[in-house]
């Protein structure tokens, strides 16, 4: 059993169901991210683990102990909010020491722990300041320090990086992950930002409409999406209707208009059970555009016309027409990006594709 387990959790607000019968296990010491668009139930789930919301049905256990009826202040959790929520009328030292006051420590122990944790978040010199005297990034480090100094059983992070500006957010990702690994604390992280989820997590729980779409490592959810939603939510994908004609030891054969027959490796299509309608998923960065003259081994090649180009600096995003379909490709720029109206050869390897069952929507 994991550090945190949810079993058949349901949460209804009036007639609205925010979370539909959800179960998951969060292993001790792991960094698990709940990822999904707003309104998918990820924050509701986090707040149920925290004890800020009671589940309508189901059971929550923390370290093997059922906590449904344990109020939040007895759950021993670390909670970090998007807006930091540092107490504005207390100094940084008082903020960090707040949780220690309820834990029967001597004054000397408290002071030592506050010093140690301020060192850990690399802000040893701000103890006597007030929160509003710190920058956003510093405040968020203090919020983290305040949450971990009490040595909680679980650290819950509710979009902690969303209020920071882009550059700082990248730095804080690294910092947060470093601290999490250093103290080995079980962490549940809520975000709508896929790159945060992929960069930091041991496991990603992709959610939509109150349901779990997929649980897996960042690579699993990225490379082997379990549903069309997952493949669309993470990165940019081309999803094409296809027909699965055959399932063999090598993989499954898909028939598509224009593309012809493509064989996708079996481990890239774990959810396709047999012949019938299916969907072919090609990541935008797996489609390579090239001049028609260049030859490439092991890749299928199709002719297409560039319809639009979005310049992104080191890479470019292309909208390419192939037959009656428009596909998206993201390629590193080699010397110069392809131009609108240019005819290109679009190439990809079948083994980079994934397939989904295809009850077409």
């Amino acid at each position: 059993m994991g550090a945190v387990s949810l079993t058949n959790i349901v949460k209804r607000f009036g007639s609205f169901t925010a979370v539909h019968r959800m179960s998951m296990d969060i292993p001790e010491g792991s960094f698990v991210t709940l990822l999904g668009p707003s309104g998918c139930g990820k924050t509701t789930t986090l707040r149920m683990i925290a004890g800020l919301i009671d589940p309508t049905e189901g059971e929550i256990t923390i370290k093997g102990q059922q906590v449904n009826d344990v109020p939040i202040h007895k759950r021993n959790l670390g909670l970090v909010f998007q807006n930091y929520a540092l107490f504005p009328h207390k100094t940084i030292a008082q903020n960090v020491a707040f949780g220690l006051k309820y834990r029967n420590l001597t004054k000397a122990d408290m002071d030592r722990k506050v010093r140690d944790v301020l060192d850990l978040v690399q802000l040893p010199h701000v103890a006597e300041r007030y929160p509003k005297q710190l920058s956003g990034g510093q405040q968020q480090r203090i919020a983290l320090a305040r949450a971990i100094v009490i040595e909680p059983d679980v650290l819950l992070l509710d979009e902690p990086l969303s209020a920071l500006d882009a550059n700082l957010r990248e730095d804080m990702r690294v910092e947060l992950k470093r601290i999490q690994q250093r103290i080995g604390i079980t962490t549940v992280f809520v975000t709508h930002d896929q790159s945060e989820a992929l960069a930091m997590s041991d496991r990603v729980v992709v959610m939509s409409d109150g349901r779990i779409e997929q649980i897996g490592t960042p690579e699993e959810v990225y490379n082997t999406p379990a549903s069309e939603f997952v493949s669309r939510f993470l990165g940019i994908s081309n999803i094409l209707d296809a027909t699965c004609t055959e399932l063999t030891a090598d993989g499954l054969s898909l028939e598509l208009p224009v593309f012809g027959r493509i064989t996708v490796p079996k481990d890239r299509a774990p959810h396709v059970e047999g012949p019938g309608p299916a969907k072919l998923v090609i990541r935008a960065e797996k489609l390579l555009l090239a001049d028609s003259s260049q030859a490439m081994e092991g890749r299928l090649a199709l002719d297409g016309v560039v319809e639009a180009v979005v310049y992104q600096g080191q890479a470019a995003r292309y909208f390419v027409r192939i037959g009656d379909r428009q596909l998206q490709a993201i390629n590193m720029i080699n010397e110069r990006p392809f131009q609108e109206g240019e005819t290109v050869s679009v190439r990809f390897r079948p083994r980079d594709c994934a397939a989904l069952p295809g009850a077409s929507a």
Partner: protein, 261 residues
Amino acid sequence: MGWPLIRVYTVLVYLFMFLPVAVVVLLSFNASQFGSFPMTGLSFRWFVELAHNDAILRAFRTSIVLGALTALISTTLGVLASLALVRYNVAGRNLISTLLIAPILVPEVVLAVALLLFLNFLSINKSFFLLLMGHVIFTLPFVILVVQARLVGIRRDYEEAALSLGASPVQTFFQITLPLLAPAVFAGMLFAFTISFDDITGTLFWKPGGVETVPTQIFAMLRNSISPEINALGTVMIFLTVGLPLLGLAIARRMAMQRGG
């Protein structure tokens, strides 16, 4: 209308509003027996006489005790009511809110008579306690309005963070919510005190025999004669009821600034 005319007009309005008050303050320093112009000299004698007038001193004490108790009870009830209305999903929240604010909207005479008739109906005699309750009823809305407005602005995050760190709901209230709410609580208290201190309508109806507050005492004195002492008393009242809230608001603003708004 040009700007000069508007300026003159504005000055006239202010004169109309404040000249009578200024006259009272001015005449309270008049040395003459008769509270009228021309002034015969500057003197503090009416203030001295005031300080030796037992009836007035008694009224003063009554008013201060009444005001302080009203402020205390109103603020306590007001904070609790605001917490319930803002932080909890109470059934009929809007109705309760309207009912609590209603005493501001009902004319005070009507409220005063209604409470008096109600007490008669219950065959309860007038007492200091009932006078106090009357004052609480019509100062409560002011406290609730002020405290509620601030409470809405205090994010729930702070309380949730405190709870997650192991503080019980009661500890959270005293450690986090109340300190953040302090400027509003303080302002509410001052409102309640000043409103109670210079109330006359309700007090005339509710006060038991023999109990006088400063306003009812002035009223009683005016019925006999217009003594210059009344001017002095008026001056003291003006400084108390205008100066105290101004001072209070200044302190509240400073507190709010220190607490990071």
